[in-house]
Structures are given as C-alpha cells and as structure tokens.
C-alpha cells in the first residue's frame, strides 16, 4: 500500500471561531486516511485543556455576521447591523456573541469543539502542545487532556518537512 498522505497543522488561535478549522481539517483528513499532527502554540494551546472555554469576540472581526439563532428562517437570516465599536465596548457582549454562535452552530448540525476534538482523538490525530508556551503562560500539564505530546519547534519542523500539507491556522 502506498505511503499515507500526511498533514501538519499549527493551531495558534484560541477563540471559538478559530478553534474550528484545525479540528475540522484534522478530523476530515484522518477520515481520508491521512496521518495528522496538530501543533498547538500560543493562544491555540488552551484548546488542549480538559475544559475548553473558548469565546468569540466581535472586536477585530468586523465582518462577523450577527444572526439570531431562533425564530423563523427569515428572522434568523437577518444580519443585525450593530456597529462593531458598540459591540466591542459593551460589557458582557462577548458572552452573548459566544452564546449566539454556539446556538447557531448547533442549529446547523455543526459539532461542538469538544466533540470534534474527541473525534480527532478517536481517529488517531496526534496533538502536540508547545512546551515553550506552556512554560511562558504558566500552564500546568494536569489541566490538559491525556494522550498528548509536549515538544518544540524543531520537533514540529522535522515532522512537517515530510508532510504533503502544512497549514498555519
């Protein structure tokens, strides 16, 4: 049998919206018989914590659609024209936006981050935590899920050098 295709991902962001791409791509690639390793670094690292508390922030995402996850379809499809500066400055708005996004995803049959991460582990995706970021941010291994590796840039590059797909997310 031919050598399986390989993919190397760097997950560098930890907001709810950016938590999706690495897990979706990794699980899909594994379902396509590819070997996958994800290197979690900087703000992507908390995605390996036992409890993921990723939030989404409208600040810095002015193109983010603001939809309501309830009511009839025409109502759900309204993109509410709330000025970004207003959303960003309103205390508690990130919690609201996170709740709305989670519900919208759920309504559309999109798995939660926790579910996708579990699926990735099921299908054999290797997850690597950046040791340096662990130390810099003062993270404790006991807060992280089991079965992950801890390594640095050289280890990632050694793997990525022999892969077919490399993405920085």
């Amino acid at each position: 049998m031919a050598e399986p295709k390989k993919m190397a991902l760097i997950a560098s962001k930890g907001t709810l919206d950016w938590a999706y791409p690495p897990f979706i791509l990794a699980s899909a690639a594994a379902a396509m018989d590819m070997e996958v390793k994800i290197f979690f670094t900087f703000y992507g690292l908390p995605l390996l914590k036992r409890k993921i508390d990723a939030q989404v922030s409208p600040l810095g995402n002015p193109a983010m659609p603001m939809n309501m996850p309830f009511g009839p379809k025409w109502f759900k499809n309204i993109n509410w024209p709330i000025p970004n500066a207003l959303m960003a400055g309103m205390p508690g708005f990130e919690g609201v936006a996170t709740g709305l996004m989670k519900q919208t995803f759920k309504n559309n049959g999109v798995a939660s981050i926790e579910e996708l991460r579990e699926l990735c582990i099921d299908v054999g995706v290797t997850m690597i935590a950046c040791q340096m970021t662990m130390d810099v941010f003062g993270f404790d291994k006991k807060d992280f899920i089991d079965g992950i590796e801890y390594a640095g840039a050289a280890n990632f590059l050694d793997y990525a050098a022999d892969t077919d797909i490399q993405l920085f997310i």
Binding site: I24, A28, A31, M32, N108, V110
Partner: protein, 78 residues
Amino acid sequence: MSDIKVDQELDCRGLGCPLPVLKTKKAVGTMASGQVLRMVCTDPGSNKDMPSWSERTGNPILKSEEQSGEYIWYVQVK
C-alpha cells in the same frame, strides 16, 4: 440500479461538515469488504465532499441520488 443490496444504513441528516464524512468513514471501518453502506445526509457540501472522500480512500460510490433536500449515497467498502 435499484437492486443494490444494502448491508448497513447510516443517518447523517441534520449534521454539518465534516460529520457525514467522519461517520461514513467510521461505519465503513466496521464493515466487511464488498458490503454496501447507504448514507443519508442533508449537507449540500456532501456533493463534493463524498466523491473526494471516496476517491481518496478508495471506497467506491456505487450510486448517489437527491430526494427533496436529502442526499443518498451508496458506498461500497473496498
């Protein structure tokens, strides 16, 4: 072509990308070579995703059809 013998059914209706492909892969993994899986989903993205998955993994799609917003796939286990 209505004489395809289905060995296992998989309901992925209401699920979004990448779940239909993942669940299909999982189901195929539990089946024997030559058996046929009938997967139903409502994800329009499956129109492109399922053929790509099939080609990459080598599990052929014997037939596919669309019925009122549902996409039906007959996948043979390689």
